[in-house]
Amino acid sequence: MENNSPKVEPGKIPFWRDVRVLRVLFQGIFLLGVILLLAILYRNMLEGLRGLGLTLNLNFFQDEAGFGISEGITYDPSDTYLKAFWVGVLNTLKVSIIGIVCATFIGLFFGIARLSSNWLIRTIAAAYVECFRNVPLLLQIVFWYTAVVAQLPNVRESLSLFGGAFINNRGVYLPSPEPTSSLKIWLWFLGAGLLLAVFLYVLRWRQLQRLDRPGFRAKWALPAFLIVALCGWFLTPGRPFTLDLPALQGFNYQGGMSFSPEFSALLVGLSIYTSAFIAEVVRSGIQSVVKGQREAARSVGLKEGQTLRLVVLPQAVPIIVPPLTSQYLNLAKNSSLAVAIGFPDLLGIGRTMMLQTGQSIPVFAIIMVSYLVMSLTTSAAMNWYNRRITRIGR
């Protein structure tokens, strides 16, 4: 009974009707098509390069770059192209990270303002969001650069904030903390504080377990650490940090932190534009939770603050994080608009490399890889986080 079943052998089905064969065949044809397309492009590329009198060559990355870069880590025109590109990568990262921080704070502010019970605040926030997200980012950046930063007073008539920060058409100058020799002593204090904090944390944790109550585990550790740190600050002979104030020397300000006009305009443009989108993300995230949940929480008897902390935020955060991350990625990608105002980001430096060497294909490849590494690592982290969070279920 088992074995005399009239099973048709797979070989007996004509291959053009066999689903399994068709699947393989179809994929094979598809891949072949893709490979063919790439091959044609490759052949065209060789031909095209020959037409331009160029050959593909990757050795140039080790050659001397020979061009200057207006800002970034220490770099000399005699360094290699690879080093030059690295300067660009770091510049992109710098403006992206600072931009993300700024955009998040501004966006959070306006997102919450849009939920305010105050009509005026709500309306102003809505106007802010609509204005800045409906105008192209490039236009905004160019506007900040040419119509605002470039129109600032010159060095002699710099705008000054509290006598320590200066703004003029050459850039923004801020005081920066400089470590002194007594920093080491203070670090000892911090270390001791940390040890104490860990000890208190564990102690408090045990206590909570004993009491069988939920609670804030760092309730003792945090104040203790702060007190030790603060005491250390004052007990240390001399101060661990001094403020390095920018000062006018010759034709410009020296000392402190300085940001070039290009960097400032780009940062302002990116932060404001992205903050408008982040505000929307935050608003819709919170709103989607608040509706029914808040009343439910109230009916259980939770107070306003508890509702926010225990009910609204834990649900809103997982909703907010994915679109927030994609806004961060957008900001990082949009930082490439730096080329429009001459900030030397990775794309800008890549372009210079292309113009100098004519090796556009490898340079484009390395530019794309750089951006892809950034986006793919971020979205991989994102997916991991998402998978962890969605298990809780909505």
């Binding site: 192209p136 794309l347 556009s360 530019i367």
Partner: protein
């Protein structure tokens, strides 16, 4: 029943209505809201005062009317401007007919459009322009009444919209030397063309990629996923640069001008985003739909054409409008490559020695145009969402 009606007739207590009550509820309900309101009022006062003083005393707005044509059409030759108007007329007729046939949102859209033309005709523009504007208005009105109630025309009009796209391209371009070279297309016209091409041409590409990404054949899925994720991981400006420098290398022997190269770059870019939007729609279709289609005996192609896509595409229209808005803004990047789109015109006007130092005026004007378009579109897309009853059948 009677009781309810009775209670409804009782007027609400007087203090629940009225401006004073509203102010109290919305601006001064708590002490910190009162504080916030006052603070915001002070800030607003200074901001508006500063802006208005600048706008009415310092700003030199002459630059806008003097360069208005540039802003609209770039260096499109004056004696060929009828081409643009013809394109507008084709769209007006289709718009009017559609408004008559479908009513609802389309009609509101047509009303707004003819309002725009009426206002334009009242502006201090040349007499001929005024005529063209009124003509466009007439086109909309006449075709509206022609289209009313003739439901049989609907498929034809849909076909007309699809056909209008290549036709308008031809009308704008003309033929050979007598036409207008694409390198002369500019201003808002070029911005709109790039955005529309980016959406329309990338649509089939996006649908194809999305279907591939949802395929159960792994090789096809991987290829499509690789393409989509690569393009989405890279900034548009990189792709435009690549289009600009690499297309001539990869396609030697073809003379592909810069506008076309930008169109190609934008289309490939937009296709990846379109694919993700469409994929969202595809994923929203329950498995039961595929199964029912299979049980009826439909094959893959039939299932896709008759069951899956009609449902998926309806649900992604709002997302596609959103993408169009984003693309409309993103086309401004072509000004970095050197095309004279709306932003490009703004840059070139500022660079003109006659209008030195008017960055703020010029950029604000360009920003206002972008804003008007984007805001109107996002407003309309909310209407579309309700009109389509997204989420319903």
């Amino acid at each position: 029943m009677e009781e309810q009606e009775l209670t409804q007739e009782i007027k609400p207590p007087a203090n629940t209505k009225g401006a004073a009550r509203w102010l109290k509820d919305n601006l001064f309900n708590t002490w910190y809201n009162t504080l916030l309101t006052c603070l915001a009022l002070v800030l607003l006062f200074f901001a508006f005062k500063g802006f208005l003083t600048w706008a009415f005393t310092e700003a030199e707005w002459d630059v806008i009317p003097a360069n208005f044509r540039l802003f609209m059409v770039g260096s499109y030759p004056q004696e060929q401007i009828w081409r643009v108007w013809n394109a507008i007329y084709i769209l007006s007729v289709l718009m009017g007919l559609s408004a008559g046939l479908w009513g609802g949102l389309v009609r509101r859209f047509a009303v707004v459009l003819s309002g725009v033309w009426s206002i334009s005709a009242l502006l201090p523009v040349e007499l001929s322009t005024r005529g063209w504007c009124l003509g466009a208005n007439a086109m909309i009105a006449v075709s509206f009444f022609l289209g009313r109630g003739r439901t049989g025309l609907r498929p034809w009009i849909l076909g007309g919209w699809i056909l209008s796209f290549p036709v308008i391209m031809v009308v704008l371009r003309g033929f050979g030397e007598n036409g207008v070279l694409t390198s002369n297309w500019g201003g808002l016209l070029l911005t709109l063309i790039l955005a529309v091409i980016g959406i329309v041409v990338s649509f089939p590409l996006g649908v194809f990629l999305a279907l591939c990404r949802q395929s159960n054949l792994p090789a096809i899925r991987w290829v499509s996923t690789t393409y989509i994720e690569t393009v989405r991981g890279v900034p548009l400006i990189t792709i435009l640069f690549m289009g600009n420098t690499l297309i001539p290398i990869f396609m030697p022997g073809f003379d592909i001008n810069q506008v076309l190269r930008m169109m190609i770059g934008i289309t490939f870019f937009s296709g990846a985003y379109m694919a993700e939007n469409v994929r969202g729609g595809l994923q929203g279709i329950p498995r039961g739909q595929h199964e029912a289609a299979q049980a009826v005996g439909l094959n893959y192609v039939q299932t896709t054409l008759f069951i899956v896509l009609p449902q998926a595409l309806r649900s992604v229209i709002p997302a596609i409008v959103g993408q169009f808005i984003a693309l409309f803004k993103d086309t401004s990047l072509v000004s970095i490559i050197g095309l004279i789109d709306l932003l490009g015109v703004a840059k070139s006007v500022i660079a003109n020695p006659d209008w030195l130092g008017l960055q703020a005026e010029v950029y604000l004007f360009a920003a206002a145009i972008y804003f008007a378009f984007c805001y109107a579109m996002s407003y309309a897309s909310q209407d579309i969402e309700t009109d389509l009853g997204v989420g319903k059948h």
